[in-house]
Amino acid sequence: MAYVVERPKLSLAEKLYFPSILKGLKITLGHFIRLMRGRTKVTMQYPEEKWDASLPAHYRGAPTLVTDEVGRERCVACQLCEFICPPRAITITPEQIPTEDKWAKVEKRPREFKIDMIRCIYCGMCEEVCPEQAIFLRKDYAITGTTREEMVHDKKRLYELGGVRDGLVNKWNELK
């Protein structure tokens, strides 16, 4: 059986169309006045106000390299992050640690570690795959530069951003 949709019966006020215009004007004026009086919560004024304080712990910002509590660079240049990186933003040049070095038993370290921040998609796969927990996504989100070269973070810059992170991996400690 066919189902008949009831047509709504319009009242005279609705047919005239004019009262609804006035109603609409009232709503918009209400919004206008509320904002003028500062009652409306408006958007954040970005460069002056920032949301840094309320960033969640798991926020994925710029990937950085970290050193451990004794100042050893954690990265052992295994290149897993380079291989997993979906946009291929990471380029690592490994080198051997000289035998006279204190950390010679670690064998490998990166001579150069480059992350192209134009390519990086902040997915966090590098952090996930790192067996040494040497690469971490920090909370820096405003990565800017005026040239392409500036946007490629080299080893120095990465350690600068990453800083020290202690705990977690004790594999290479002398005590062990």
Partner: protein, 374 residues
Amino acid sequence: MDWFLVLSSLIKISGFTFLVILPFVALSSLAERKVSAYIQDRVGPNRVGVPLTIFGAKKDFPLFGLIQPLADGLKFILKEDLTPKHVRKFYFWLAPALTMVPALLTCAVIPFGSYMNIGGREVKMVIADLNVGPLFTFAIASLGVYGIVLAGWASNSKYPFLGGVRSSSQMISYEIALGLSVVPVLMVFQELNLGMIVEEQDKNGWLLLPLWGEGLSWQRWALLLPMGISFVVFTIAMFAETNRMPFDLPECETELVAGYHTEYSSMKFAMFFLGEYAAMIIGSGLIVTLFLGGWSIPFLPTAELAKTTWWMGLLHMGCFLTKVAAFIFFFMWVRWTLPRFRFDQLMRLGWVFFFELALANVFLTALILMIVKR
């Protein structure tokens, strides 16, 4: 030759157009953005100040975005002025001027103030004290549509063409309602000089607010209904005439990209923009003059005082500009409230509803006047 007349006219012309209308256009473009932002719970432009850092200073001078119109103007001047290959060059160049000039011409008959006593002589604060004020305004204001039609035609592409065609058909259907709705007003005043109309309202109460002088008589209150209808029809027709929001079909972005000025860029586009806003200001000025007492201060008939002093005239000018500004706010308020009409709705509204209403209103006013004046 009366050098005083020539000089005062020149000052009035340049002062009113360049120091009042054009700054008003600039400020209303900022106000438009601010009002739209506030209505939509946003902040709107609030950055542009005096960029002192360019000149080596430590900090910019913030002005809460008040310099925005200047920045806009600078941007318009610096943009590439593109003339596409497929256009009719002569008409393409002519069209923006044809939109702006009529809009600025109509301000000649709007009385923006009462009198000013300069060196013992009364100077009437209107550029051309014509005895056919409203007729002159209608005659010139409807020329503005030629600019739009020409722009649509000369652009030689689909969207501008549609915009131009829409504009002309819309103009025809609303010009009638506009003209007819003002007839009852002129019947009541028995006067076609806008300056005299305002003086009458100054003495005896505004047309829509007869609360002092002779306005308190029952005769005037009996006329309030037809005057109200006139006001509503006139205002709505003015919205259509100036292509403002519920009737901005000639340029509606969602259907026609940018309508008649799709092919225009840089200062030529700015001319359309200027013309549109100038038309809005003059339209508001006309509505204020006819219905809301022009330069007169409510409850205080002060036209005589203005003839002997210089400060009263300034006060009247301020009063007029305040009213116009309030009406411009109304224009914007409506723009950010109502959705655009469909084109057939627009035509229906113009031909079937407003035309008849305005026509019936003429007879209603005549009837009431016949009873009242007896």
